[in-house]
Subunit: 148 residues, 4 copies
C-alpha cells in the first residue's frame, strides 16, 4: 500500500515522487539487483586486455591548434564484436583530465571504431575509454607532444 | 595479404586507413554480422509494449518559458530491468521533431527512470524514446499545452 | 518563503523535491527564459544551409552485414567552427527511423567531422543530424542500397 | 592543390581521407583555432565555484542493490543559465572511477537539473561532473556508505 502526501507552498518547487511497483516478481527488487554487481563493474580498467583495451592511432607530435584525426578501435588484431547482448556502448577521448569527444555506438549497427578530428592546446596524454555493457570502461593512453 | 599505398601531397589532408584483421575467426566477419540483424532492430517502435514503452509523467499544460519536470520511466507496473546483457541504453526526450534532453544509462548501476527539467516555447507532443540493447528504440508521446 | 511537507509511507517510493532559489535576479526566472526561444530552435531543419547542413560521405551500395565507414562533416567547403560560444554539439547517424551512432563533440577541442564504422540490414536513407548550440539540429540524407 | 592517391588491395580495409578546404578565410585554419584555447579549458575543475560546481542531493547511506535517486543541479542558490551561447552541455554521475549515468542537456530547452535512479555495489564517492560550453567540466563529490 502506498500513501504519499506532498505539500508544496513555494511555487518554484518542482517535485517528482517516483513509486515503483512492489509485486513479488518486480524486476527491480533490491535482492535481485544486488546479484547483478560482478567484479568487472567495480572500477575503471587500466590494465591491458587484448579484447577490450582501446587502440589509439594518432600522431606523436602536433602543432598547437592544428586539426588532426584520432582513430580509436577496440580489440587487438580483430575488433570487439557488436552483438545485441555484447557490444561497446561508447568510446570517449580525453586529453589528461579533460574529455574532448565521445561516440555512443548502437549494438549490431556500429563497430567499435571511430575517428574524431581534434586539436590540442598543450601536450600530455591522449586517453581513450571504451565501455562494454558487461563491465566498466577500459582505458588506454598515448603520449602526444604539442609544438607551439 | 594487405597492400596499402597512400600518397597525400596536401598538408591539410588527414588520412585514416583502418585495416581489420582477416583471420577466419574474426568476430566482425561479414557473414557473422549479417546474422545479428533481427527484425527488432529494423525500425522505431511506436506501438505499445508493456515492458518497453516509455511512460511520461508531465503536466498537461505549462506556461511558456516556465521550468517543469518530466519524468520518463520504462515499463508499465514495474521497471525494465538493468542487467549486464539486457538494459535500456538511453532515454531521450523530444518536443515534436526537436530533441531537448537525453540520458545515457549504464547497465547494472542505472535504472531506466530519469527526471529532466525543461521549458517549452510552443505546445505539441512530448515524445520519449527508450532504446534497449536488443532492439531499436520504443516511443511514447503525450500532448502538452503551452500557455502564453 | 518555502514550505515543503513530504510524507512517504511506502518504502519503495523515492522522492526528489527540487527548490530553486527565487531571488529577483534568478537566472532561470520564467520571464527571462521565455526570451531565449528564437525561431531557430522550433523544429528540425531539413532545408539546405551551406554552413550547417551535414555532409555524408558513404558508399552508394553495400553488402548486407559488411562493415563500411561513414564520414559526416558539417559545412560545405570549410568546416563549421568549433568555438566556445558557437559549435556543433553532436553529430548523429540514422538509417531511416533508427539511430545507429552518435558523437558528442566538445567545443574548441573537436571539429565537426567524425567517421563511424557501420553495417546495415536493409537499404534506405542514411540520415545525418548535426546540432549547433544556437538552433535545433540540421538534417541531410543520402540513399544507400544494401545488397543481399 | 590537393593530390591524393589511395590504393587499397585488401578488401577488408576501409579508408577515410579527409581534406579540409584551405582558403585563407577557412574557419578552421590553425592560427585561428589556437586562439580559442583559453585557460578554462585546460583541466577538470575540482575547486568550488558558486556558479558552476554541481550540487549532489543523495542519501548518506544506502543498502547494496537498492534503487535510490540522485539529483544533480548546477549553481548554488540559483541555477546556471540555459542560454543559446552559454549553457551546461552535460551532467555525468560517477561512483569513484566508474561512470554510472550521463545526461546531455539541450540549450534553451533544458535546465541543468537532472534526477537519476541508481544502485551501488560498494561505498565510496559519488562524483558529479557538469560541463559548460565555455570551459572544461566542474566536479563535486559526496561520500556515500553502502550497507550489505
Amino acid at each position: 500500500m502506498s500513501d504519499v502526501t506532498l505539500h508544496v507552498r513555494n511555487a518554484a518547487c518542482a517535485a517528482a515522487v517516483l513509486c515503483f511497483g512492489l509485486a513479488g516478481a518486480d524486476a527491480l527488487a533490491a535482492g535481485e539487483q544486488a546479484e547483478q554487481f560482478t567484479p568487472e563493474y567495480l572500477q575503471l580498467h587500466t590494465t591491458y586486455d587484448a579484447k577490450h583495451s582501446p587502440k589509439i592511432v594518432a600522431p606523436d607530435s602536433v602543432k598547437r591548434g592544428d586539426w588532426f584525426t584520432v582513430t580509436v578501435s577496440v580489440g587487438a588484431g580483430s575488433q570487439h564484436p557488436s552483438l545485441g547482448e555484447h557490444s561497446i556502448r561508447y568510446i570517449a577521448l580525453y586529453k589528461d583530465s579533460v574529455e574532448i569527444a565521445r561516440a555512443y555506438l548502437h549494438p549490431v549497427y556500429s563497430a567499435p571504431t571511430v575517428t574524431f578530428t581534434v586539436a590540442l592546446d598543450e601536450g600530455g596524454s591522449l586517453r581513450a575509454l571504451a565501455e562494454p555493457n558487461h563491465s566498466s570502461a577500459w582505458e588506454t593512453s598515448k603520449k602526444i607532444e604539442v609544438r607551439p
